[in-house]
């Protein structure tokens, strides 16, 4: 997928949205959700390439695989939470969007606990 395909797709979606928004706002919301999901879906193979690159680098650098898995999971949670929050905000529900973002932050914090504990144990080992 080139950037031209991306922009062309976005133009089509935007024109359809502009036509549909005043007529049927609820369908416009669904259309924007579909457009966002399709763009994200088309970008995911590239993201997978980046992820495999990072995994390769981490394996070369001797990073512990558990930490890398946690980081990848955190990135996934961030992407999905951002997607949900944008959809909610686009539909005019800023409160729901804020709650989705809050939930994403809490889940990310929970996922980061093993890394924090690892840093803490390293620091105590260095000090003591």
């Amino acid at each position: 997928m080139s950037v031209l395909a991306l922009v062309a797709f976005a133009l089509v979606a935007v024109v359809c949205l502009v036509v549909l928004r005043p007529l049927r706002p609820e369908l416009a919301v669904l259309l924007s959700v579909a457009a966002a999901a399709l763009i994200f879906l088309a970008l995911l193979p590239r993201i997978a390439q980046v992820v495999s690159l990072v995994t390769d680098l981490a394996a070369r650098g001797g990073v512990e695989p558990a930490y890398l898995a946690a980081v990848l999971r955190i990135i996934g949670v961030a992407y999905v939470a951002e997607f949900g929050a944008q959809v909610a905000r686009d539909a005019g529900e800023g409160a729901i969007a804020a709650k989705v973002e809050l939930g994403g932050k809490v889940l990310i914090l929970l996922l980061a606990v093993p890394i924090l504990l690892g840093i803490l144990s390293l620091v105590t080992k260095l000090l003591g």
Partner: protein
């Protein structure tokens, strides 16, 4: 009329299967939703002019539900892909 409806229903899954969940960015879903929206608007206004307001409302709700199911399929695809990429 009944046969036509049945044929229309049979066409649906076949077309959906033909639209492979590939990596290319195709605007089929966008066109479908936009076309269905305009169709709903036209049908709604026609029925409303005929004086059957509750039927017009039902048509709108049915259209929204149909589009919702279509979008849910796309979002489900997206979530599966995200889960497989980030090993969640």
């Amino acid at each position: 009329m009944r046969r036509g409806a049945r044929r229309g229903r049979r066409e649906g899954p076949a077309r959906r299967r033909a639209r492979a969940p590939g990596e290319a960015l195709n605007a089929d879903v966008i066109w479908q939703i936009a076309g269905l929206g305009i169709l709903i608007v036209v049908v709604h206004s026609v029925i409303k002019t005929a004086g059957r307001d509750e039927l017009a409302w039902m048509v709108t709700v049915a259209g929204v539900v149909v589009v919702l199911f279509r979008v849910i399929g796309v979002v489900n695809q997206l979530f599966q892909a995200v889960r497989s990429v980030f090993q969640m």
